[in-house]
Symmetry: C2
Subunit: 110 residues, 2 copies
């Protein structure tokens, strides 16, 4: 169910992935994980033990806020929404990720 090989690459990008996922509208945690894994064809796996701590962290930092509601299937779910600060943070993180990954690509292309 989980990757045998721990994905160290995720470090530092999970926040941006979550923020980006929320940029198109509120979603609950489980749906965020599904969206990221679906979009990346499981190239990026989101373990629940990483997801929820990340959500709490970002809520503490006011990048997102949450309220209880119901999922599409009518279940109890906590819906997360991007705050203005979160949108700013998202832009910054995407920019620094592009810069970083371009750098890495350049080294690999050596």
């Amino acid at each position: 169910m989980s990757p045998r090989t721990t994905n160290a690459l995720l470090h530092g990008t999970l926040d941006a992935l979550i923020l980006k996922t929320l940029a198109s509208g509120p979603r609950h945690g489980y749906a965020i994980a599904r969206f990221i894994e679906d979009t990346t064809a499981d190239a990026v796996l989101v373990e629940e033990g990483s997801l929820y701590p990340a959500l709490y962290r970002m809520e503490r930092r006011r990048w997102i806020d949450a309220e209880w509601g119901t999922s599409e299937l009518g279940r109890r779910a906590k819906l997360y929404r991007l705050t203005p600060a979160g949108r700013t943070q998202l832009a910054a993180e995407v920019a620094s990720w592009r810069r970083f990954s371009a750098g890495v690509s350049r080294v690999f292309a050596t």
Copy 2:
């Protein structure tokens, strides 16, 4: 001299960057750091406190080996060299990085 903002993105990619740097021939630690920072135009900064532990780790894992020699400037320097196992590891890490970063890009392109 060092980044004010801790670069969490480096997590998991430093090994691959070092291995790739050594793929073109032996180099000493300081030169590895210079090469990566130069190649990435400082988009990827290699702190010495990250570099040397990474080198010891990879030496322990037999991905690289080391011997004392002299640098281009005639100073005492420990020269690291890629082992066959290291070359295999490099290929695997580059492949998984490409897969991962393609996934992240896909999410960001949403």
